[in-house]
Amino acid sequence: MANWFNNFFRREKAAAAPAPVLRSSRALVPAVDISPDDPVIAHFQNSPGVIELEKLNLDSPGVRAMKSAGVKVVVPLVSQGELVGLLNLGPRLSEQDYSTDDYGLLNTLATQASPALRVAQLVRQQQAAALARERMEQELRVARLIQQTLLPKQVPDIPGYQIAVLYQPARAVGGDFYDFIELPEGRFALIVGDVTDKGVPAALVMATTRAILRGAATRFSDPGEVLAHVNDLLCPDIPPNMFVTCLYAVLDPRAGTIKFANAGHDLPYRRIDGGVNELRATGMPLGLLPGMTYEEKETTLNDGETILFYSDGIVEAHNPEKEMFGFPRLMGLVAGHRGGAALIEYLQNELRKFTGADWEQEDDVTMMTLTRTSIPNGHSKSAGARKESQTLAQFSLPSQPGNERDAMKRVAEALQPLQLPSARLEKLKTAVAEATMNALEHGNKYRAELPVNIIVMASDDDVTVKISDQGGDAEMPTPETPDIDAKLAGLQSPRGWGLFLIKNLVDEMNVTTDQQQHTVELILRRKED
């Protein structure tokens, strides 16, 4: 009978959803857009019943558009005072005018159609909302899956140490992560990090960061270098406005030392006898600017001491009064606890007490404790004795002949404040020169671009010098025991004294080899036995 166009729209959705559009089942007229602020909308809403467009005297772009689209009669569909649609009719196919009966029929139709249309709209909205929710849940599931797949399944078992972790993700899945990496020479990297942002983007950046970290950890032995490298690789690819904070610590279980560097992450706390201190090292978060350097620090974990690594999820938690948990509170709680793995449960309880039961966790909460439970390998000392090892110098030399003299000189300079007995110092110097020469010649084959890395450390009792070359891929030759008689008789090469000398000049020599490097560790007691 008539060309009639059904038109769904809701005013409050008009800004986001497409503006009202005329749709024709027979496509006789083009679609008409009515802007949500068009005065005709208010008119339609307040004028139930059939409207003849010709008689409508309103300065309205919508009316002009409808007229030019051929609409003759409009019936607003109003449900509970709300305009939910329009019934638009073109001219009668018979070309006669609409009759009073027609209007009556249209009014009845509108009255019945309006609530039905409203219901249909609501159902559709519900479905859309459910779909969006489902999509978001799905996204969170993905984010959680990425995160949980990549987090370590278990903590490493290190004799003499205890490691415990709590990882409590927020519903929205923040970007917290932690990792353990087994390194050469029995060392372990302990990592705690936090990606800004939440959900899938954070999870993806976390996965990338973790992969780069794992690569860098095996290539570089110094935490500062590891972070600098990760930063440089992350910078070009990280989405804008995102970055990663990360604390990277390397535990040497035998020495009890922790070397660490920090890319803008919350400072770990060390629970010591009678208090707490911060492990402070400066550095920018990862992914902000390339070419950053990261300060590196070393400390010794004494028997019974605990280090707490954590993310900002705990310190930035709020209580119902909008008060923040904060660093001072955390530090105080750590200081007041006896330490060990139980510290985590204690802090978790304190956090729960603080936030109350109805806390909607805002961010991931991660806590990791590292506790030294005993001094392994019979190194234990008499009660009260403390073995605090300090790095005195750390440097690299290019692999050029003669550089062992440099090594000798610089080690001697570094040890100068210790005032070692000169006979001891001379022995160590010769041992350093020999070990460095081996590193330059045999390890690095005098390839100038390969560095020999030297670290000088001292504790109350010992001096330790570590000399590493980059020749880890080749087995270190087992030296012939030099036999002076055979050498003098011309039966053995006159050479081959290096390792033998080193062994006999220092109190302890340890050689370790991994895929990258050889490290010779020279240990000399500071006093004659």
Partner: protein, 115 residues
């Protein structure tokens, strides 16, 4: 040839060829040391004395060079004498047992007098 940090001078004292060494004995010293020793043996001495008084550094390669000279001396029946070793290098000569195969005097004068 790379620059050696070893200076040598050779002279004869009563049938002993004295090689005075100054500087460092390492890989780079090989030629200088061998030349000095050849010069000394040309004197057909009964003994060769190496004076280490002014030697600051001997590394394992230097030890090997000394061992080579000792082997030559032994072959040609020349007595090998060392003098002027610092405490540290004395210790190293003991560790390597070089000291078992040469006579060591605290200084050159004592060595020459003792003959």
């Amino acid at each position: 040839m790379a620059d050696t940090l070893l200076e040598t001078s050779v002279r004869q004292e009563n049938g002993t060829a004295v090689i005075e060494l100054k500087g460092e004995i390492d890989k780079l010293s090989e030629d200088a040391l061998n030349r000095a020793y050849a010069q000394a043996t040309q004197m057909k001495p009964a003994s060769v004395l190496l004076n280490f008084k002014n030697v600051e550094y001997i590394n394992s390669t230097g030890i090997a060079l000394i061992v080579t000279l000792m082997a030559q001396a032994r072959k040609s029946g020349v007595k090998f004498i060392a003098a002027g070793l610092s405490d540290h290098y004395m210790e190293i000569f003991k560790i390597t047992r070089l000291s078992d195969f040469m006579t060591i005097y605290p200084d050159e004068a004592t060595a020459l007098k003792s003959k």
